[in-house]
Symmetry: D3
Subunit: 68 residues, 6 copies
């Protein structure tokens, strides 16, 4: 089975999908926290993303800042 280098893979449930002409917003409920992804509307259609789906947010470690 294939593995992805991206360190952060947060599995949750799709709560909301909003599609624009090019970009779409996908909101995932992850342990009670809402994670927002903006991906292409093409990707939303390809993955057939809709509320209620189980989905994983994938985030490369270089994209994470820290607030303290």
């Amino acid at each position: 089975m294939s593995k992805i280098s991206g360190r952060n893979q947060l599995k949750g449930t799709v709560k909301e999908v909003v599609k624009g002409a090019v970009m779409a917003k996908v909101v995932i409920d992850y342990k009670g926290e809402l994670i927002t992804a903006t991906i292409t509307t093409d990707s939303v259609d390809d993955l057939d993303l809709k509320p209620g789906d189980t989905a994983t947010a994938l985030i490369k470690s270089t994209e994470v800042m820290i607030i303290k």
Copy 2:
């Protein structure tokens, strides 16, 4: 008080800090899930990040991919 546009802010506890010459790895325990950030070693020093600290992972929505 100031607000940040970044949609995703996951507050947890710093578990591990590894410093290289330029980049450092910071691992945050968020509700039992480990979130990895790679930031500059300068930032680790500026924020004085160390295990046990309360810290928030900040992620822009454009950086989040979805796996389904």
Copy 3:
């Protein structure tokens, strides 16, 4: 007071806000240079961003390329 690991924080004045269905454009005048950010329309609404506001562009060092 909280600190952010993101190395680059450029404070200026909002010049223009254009909202699309999902993404919005925010232009900040920073020392006479225009800095463009594309963030979610949700964030624009949450921060109530509008021309004339003082605002800071936050950029992680890993996102900066160099041209010479």
Copy 4:
């Protein structure tokens, strides 16, 4: 002459270069503000980046967050 889609191009003077095994830090003085980029050490060598060089920081608009 070629043009780049990246909206933000800040021209300044290289102040500091620190090379690690894989990643390097390059600091550019832009109108008195220090802009930090982390790029590969390979790129630093290819561009022969050194203090005193004129160089431009290139930043895609999707990588810019806003603080207000």
Copy 5:
């Protein structure tokens, strides 16, 4: 002639341009593979990008994940 630190520069032919209010999709045919970029509609207009153009996809190495 100027050089860019971004390691990955994939030269191909523009196949498709779709413009939204803020963001646009540009698809480049690169060695038979379609590369999709989402950039601002402003950038599409500035570069006058249209099908048939020769264009290069520029990607920073920190933005590339690996699947194995």
Copy 6:
């Protein structure tokens, strides 16, 4: 089988792996073009990446700039 929203997936052969304390460089030969990724050394170890492996470079469309 799972699908990833990331639009750009370039399958090739690993040519070089250089590991630093935190970050590593992985070079993939894709149809004669070298694609460079900088990922964590942890990921290189987890995926057991080494020259000769078949591997795919995964790139989100929002991370792609265009030069014309």
